[in-house]
């Protein structure tokens, strides 16, 4: 289908097809999120963590990512990003169900997606620990003169307080590495509001200190996100060095199924932010711009549900890791009890 110009919103070069794809990623993300929480309520999985509120940001950023070229160093809230760069709902579900076929073999918490084939680095639950890894990967790319490639590295607002975040940005700037640091600022770090995390809440302003460009954008807008991340990634891919991006969003849900956010923030606050919920908002925009009809939307939602159901059923039917799997991949080769 040819690209049409619409007046409804800036499409930043995205085709209708791409805009629909963005929206589909957002829908799928929310559906999979819900599924995790449902499964937890049903007692089928002990833990789930959602990224509601991050859908636009993640869908937009993922669209700027070049599959087969770029690398992604995500954090646990990046279900949508990981989907967007190529992970399948089935792979997501394998992680949620901790099945043997999961990339991590059911070893890690859910939401700790990694996949070498997809270019997603492995990370742990220790916040900020993945950021130097992303920088090291960017160094490898630069060292091998693989121009046209870059690393997209994400973390939450709270994680910027860690020393490793600082060290990593500084090193990347010194070496002008092909990397984009994308902070998903949802205003909360579990129960800690941004103002207890930092005195000056505009994280992008730290870029000046490191000597790299910095930019804040509206992470509720997938198209704006796409454009900002794409610009930064292209700079990185073409030798222009790193960028610090700050996407503004909000965490609509509690931190995880282990958390009750009503102990530390008000329902009113959440409701207020819900008014800008990026999913219905983008839906309305697409419909208004004539890029999707109401029927298209309904069909897409149905299809997303179907895909989620299939992924759920398929993953659930898979076997757990075997007890003996505890002993593999400690070192290369077979495990020795005394190692």
């Amino acid at each position: 289908m040819a690209v049409r110009t619409t007046t409804a919103f800036e499409r930043r070069g995205l085709s209708d097809e791409q805009l629909r794809q963005l929206f589909r990623n957002m829908l799928l993300q929310r559906q999979l999120d819900n599924r995790g929480f449902q499964l937890n309520r049903q007692g089928k999985v002990p833990f789930a963590l959602g990224s509601e509120g991050h859908e636009a940001l993640q869908a937009g950023a993922a669209m700027a990512f070049e599959r087969g070229k770029d690398l992604l160093a995500p954090y646990y809230r990046d279900l949508g990003l990981c989907l967007g760069v190529g992970l399948t709902p089935y792979e997501i579900m394998l992680s949620i169900f901790a099945r043997e076929a999961d990339h991590n073999g059911g070893r890690q918490f859910p939401n700790h997606y990694s996949s070498k084939a997809t270019g997603i680095l492995s990370f742990s639950s220790v916040l900020a620990a993945h950021i130097p890894h992303a920088v090291g990967a960017a160094y490898a790319i630069q060292y091998r003169n693989e121009s046209g490639r870059a690393v997209l590295c994400t973390n939450g607002d709270g994680t910027t307080s860690e020393g490793e975040w600082h060290e990593s940005l500084n090193f990347a700037a010194v070496h002008k590495l092909p990397i984009v640091f994308l902070v998903e600022n949802n205003l909360w770090a579990i129960s800690t509001p941004i103002e207890k995390q930092m005195a000056q809440p505009e994280i992008w302003k730290r870029a000046v200190g490191y000597g790299m460009p910095g930019k804040r954008f509206n992470g509720f807008d997938p198209v704006e996100t796409y454009a900002c991340v794409k610009e930064a990634l292209e700079r990185a891919r073409s030798g222009g060095g790193p960028t610090l991006l700050e996407g503004m969003c909000y965490r609509f849900l509690a931190h995880s199924t282990d958390d009750n956010d009503m102990t530390y923030r008000t329902k009113d606050e959440v409701t207020e932010h819900r008014k800008s919920d990026p999913v219905p908002r983008f839906e309305a925009k697409l419909v208004e711009a004539g890029i999707m009809s109401e029927a298209d939307v309904a069909a897409m939602k149905k299809d997303v549900l179907r895909e989620t159901n299939e992924a759920t059923d398929r993953a659930e039917a898979m076997p757990f890791p075997k007890a003996e799997d505890l002993y593999t991949h400690v070192y290369e080769g077979a495990w020795q009890p005394w190692q």
């Binding site: 757990f320 799997d325 002993y327 495990w335």
Partner: protein, 338 residues
């Protein structure tokens, strides 16, 4: 179970370990305004296990500090507070996240007194939940005691019973030196017990003989000491007499209690959740092999986790990593029969 306390009052209350930590912290905050609690989500959320719930309302955000996510500085700032006369209690949200603060604990807190020749001290408590069996996966399940117990200048306690939690936490808070206070998160709500009212301390460095026995000494701590006790009690029916010692303090370690027990039973089984190589059991075993070798009628045995990096998230993996009262009973039988 014999709870040894230095001051014991008549009245007591049933609590679980979370409640014991909470009640002790509360009393401490009430009694000494030099005490500051700092850590991630300790304020409005009241800690992820609700240990400090509502404290911020009563004691204010100056005393209950929701820190930025930055463990090195959580401990480092607490060291500075301690050097300047406050009595900080720093919290690391999960023991797995203590690694970034390793420098401040091992390089700084443990050496402040020593390197300043006693001019500066570091009366600091670092509390953190550790241990597995809660589907915490690779990064919310680790045991960290063996990464720290080699370090002179530091004290480490790991109580298992609510009464010990209170007595040892009080002792840690009163202690003029840095104490790493390890709370097994699976025992948090699982383990209940009587906790004496009023202020009392249990001396750091004293183990507790939970059950006397004549045929085998079992040394354990944390969650596993409960399972060891369960196993030992079950074996009583078969006429086996197993002594169970709750180490409680890891550094300093109660050599006397262990050696006395081994002298009596002539056999030693060490049980811990952490992996084996270089774990706490290594020092216990080495100490006994040094001090009481000819008292032994059987090789010392360590029943520990396999030497793999961590338990996995999947139930199958967690289950394989963890021990159980049954596996412990089996080892006890074998040792007694040796």
């Amino acid at each position: 179970m014999a709870v040894t306390t230095s001051k014991m009052t008549a009245s007591s209350q049933t609590m679980n370990n979370v409640e014991a930590v909470r009640a002790t912290l509360y009393e401490a905050l009430k009694n000494d305004d030099r005490i500051i609690i700092l850590g991630e989500d300790v304020g409005a959320r009241g800690n992820v296990f609700l240990i400090t719930k509502d404290f911020i309302d009563e004691f204010g955000p100056q005393r209950i500090i929701d820190t930025p996510i930055a463990e090195a500085s959580i401990v480092g700032i607490a060291v500075g507070m301690a050097m300047e006369g406050l009595r900080p209690i720093a919290e690391i949200q999960f023991a797995d996240f203590i690694y970034p603060s390793f420098n401040q604990i091992v390089g700084e807190a443990a050496k402040t007194r020593y390197r300043s020749n006693g001019e500066y001290t570091c009366p600091l408590v670092i509390r953190t939940p550790y241990g597995g069996g809660v589907r915490g996966a690779l990064s919310h399940s680790v045991s960290v005691e063996a990464l720290f117990y080699h370090v002179p200048g530091l004290k480490i306690v790991a109580p298992a019973f609510p009464a010990d939690v209170k007595g040892l936490l009080n002792a840690a808070i009163d202690d003029p030196d840095p104490v790493l206070f390890l709370e097994h998160k699976k025992t948090y709500r699982l383990i209940k017990g009587e906790v004496p009212s009023g202020h009392y301390t249990i001396p750091i460095g004293k183990a507790n003989v939970l059950k006397e026995g004549t045929q085998l000494s079992v040394v354990s701590y944390g969650l596993y000491v409960h399972w060891a006790l369960e196993a030992a009690r079950a074996l009583e029916g078969d006429g086996l007499s197993v002594e169970v010692i709750d180490l409680r303090s890891i550094r300093p370690m109660d050599r006397t209690t262990i050696l006395n027990s081994v002298e009596k039973t002539r056999k030693l089984l060490i049980i811990h959740e952490d992996n084996k190589f270089g774990g706490i059991g290594a020092e216990i075993s080495a100490m006994v092999a040094e001090e009481a070798l000819f008292n032994l009628d059987a090789p010392i045995r360590r029943l520990c986790a396999p030497d793999v990096p961590a338990m996995g998230y999947a139930e199958t993996l967690e289950h394989e990593f963890m021990s159980s009262p049954e596996k412990m009973a089996k080892a006890m039988r074998e040792m007694v029969a040796f």
